[in-house]
């Protein structure tokens, strides 16, 4: 809980966190006295990776317009998550990543999870959801130019994102249900979540079909109107 004001400290954190602290936590989990600290290690790694991304964001000089658009996208995807069946957080994170940059994608994914869980219920799953959705948005931003060029790739990314999200969340459930990670439980959990994953993938693609074009048109319109 320290205010990180100095740019040097933040830069140091960006190196220390991924290359020293996170491996150290994992190594502690593997080699610690009585082993099997999967719960602690997975939670700690998720939190540390989130901190890593936040440090990076704080360092970057991001325009105020982009920052406000990020909060607009977060609010819209939180609203979308309140509707009964559909969960468009993935799609919103992807679109933000593609059109506003990888950091924006990460923030929209991660904080949509955090804020919507104020209504849906916070739990030990929150850091995992934040990380999973954040990374989906981040990689959509990294792959922005091929995704913008080919619609097929865009839909494929939607499907892969759905599968990856439920695979990550299955790791979480497997660890929490069995107290420690075991491949058998993980495979069983993955098998039981196949219908849910399929539904999720299909709904992602439908959302992308409906939203991708109008969204880019809307952003284009804003760009022309306000000259960004």
């Amino acid at each position: 809980m320290i205010v990180i004001r100095s740019a040097r400290v933040r830069r140091a954190l960006k190196i220390v966190l991924p290359f020293i602290v996170i491996p150290a936590v994992v190594a502690f989990g593997v080699f610690a006295v009585r082993g099997k600290h999967h719960l602690f290690v997975s939670t700690a790694v998720a939190l540390l990776s989130l901190a890593l991304f936040l440090c990076g964001f704080e360092k970057r000089k991001i325009g105020s317009r982009r920052a406000v658009l990020v909060s607009v996208m977060i609010a819209l995807s939180v609203l979308g998550r309140m509707f009964p069946v559909i969960k468009p957080v993935t799609v919103f994170a992807m679109l933000s990543g593609m059109f506003l940059g990888p950091e924006a994608g990460f923030l929209v994914g991660a904080f949509s999870a955090l804020i919507s869980n104020f209504w849906a219920g916070q739990g030990p799953w929150t850091p995992f959801q934040m990380l999973a959705w954040g990374l989906i948005g981040f990689f959509a931003g990294v792959l922005a130019s091929p995704l913008k060029r080919s619609r097929f790739l865009l839909y494929a990314y939607g499907v892969i994102a759905a599968v990856a999200f439920s695979m990550v969340m299955d790791v979480w459930s497997a660890i929490w249900l069995a107290g420690a990670f075991s491949l058998d439980v993980y495979l069983a959990k993955m098998l039981t979540s196949v219908p849910h994953t399929l539904l999720y993938a299909v709904s992602n693609v439908i959302f992308l079909i409906c939203f991708a074009k109008p969204f880019s048109e809307k952003l284009e319109r804003i760009r022309i109107k306000y000259g960004i």
């Binding site: 006295v33 406000v68 658009l69 939180v78």
Partner: protein, 287 residues
């Protein structure tokens, strides 16, 4: 607990649940469950109840372990030639207890740490992100109000027919699209207004209602003292346990001290809450 500084409250929950995640000792887990349930019941956080889904999740954990794990000396029966052991059942039950305790902790945690307090914590790490998130929090009700307005206007124009479900779906999509455009433009206007008022020029000052009082310092000291002792006990092997091949738990003086410290730590918030209730009743009776 609401009166304490969010940093202290956050530290308490992180420390307590961290111990529960590190040490699968059955006695420690039971203590955690009792403490968590006590706090939840005293606060009656979320009066709707909602214990059932949590219980179902915990029961699932009890069942899953013995199906997949066949270690243990006491075989109860065989399923398809695989032994179903007492030890695996006990381990599964402890997993269930831990899960239930965690869910109770988190229910109390989210009731105590409202979004403004989370924002305060976030602002200590990264002011820029705290601003972005607080704007998003404000936008949620704003956008839903705007959506309602748009939907009303569309209905009044006769663009959405209530008797036609296809028209309702298309109307809903149109309302969302209109709100999206409006929200993006509104965001740009907000950003321009912020910049016109000097956002991004030099360091921002911030105001938080939370201060670090003497009671916060006292609670921090108690938490750190107890927590440090428990972590020492857990890593020093004083709370050692094993499930396979037979269940054994250390029960000597050092182990009992560790358990006692954990019991005190988990009972801390319930004690504070109960004290507040008693004080409130006492003050009321004097009127």
């Amino acid at each position: 607990m609401e009166r304490f500084n969010p940093i202290v409250v956050f530290m308490y929950f992180a420390l307590t649940s961290g111990i529960a995640m590190l040490c699968m000792n059955p006695i420690m887990q039971t203590i955690a469950l009792v403490g968590a349930a006590l706090l939840f019941l005293i606060r009656r956080a979320g009066r709707r109840g909602g214990h059932l889904p949590m219980l179902a999740f915990a029961l699932l954990a009890c069942v899953i372990n013995p199906i997949f794990s066949h270690n243990g000396a006491t075989v109860l029966f065989f399923v398809n030639g695989n032994p179903f052991t007492l030890e695996a059942v006990i381990y599964g039950a402890v997993c269930g207890v831990m899960l239930l305790a965690m869910l109770y902790w988190f229910r109390s945690f989210s009731a105590l740490m409202t979004s403004d307090k989370i924002l305060y914590l976030l602002g200590r790490i990264s002011p820029k992100i705290a601003l972005t998130v607080s704007m998003a929090l404000r936008y949620v009700p704003l956008f839903s109000a705007q959506m309602r307005k748009t939907a009303q206007a569309q209905r009044a124009m006769g663009a959405i027919r209530a008797d036609d479900s296809l028209s309702r779906i298309r109307g809903g999509a149109r309302v969302f699209s209109v709100t999206l455009t409006w929200a993006l433009e509104n965001g740009i206007v907000t950003a321009d207004a912020m910049e016109a008022r000097g956002y991004g020029e030099g360091r921002r000052t911030s105001f938080a209602i939370y201060r670090f009082h003497r009671r916060d310092a006292a609670l921090t000291a108690v938490i750190l003292l107890l927590g440090g002792g428990i972590y020492y006990g857990v890593f020093g092997g004083f709370a050692a346990y094993q499930y396979y091949p037979i269940v054994t738990v250390r029960q000597d003086t050092a182990a009992l001290l560790t358990y006692g410290a954990y019991a005190l730590l988990t009972a801390l918030p319930s004690t504070i809450e109960a004290g507040e209730i008693i004080r409130w009743k006492y003050l009321q009776s004097k009127i």
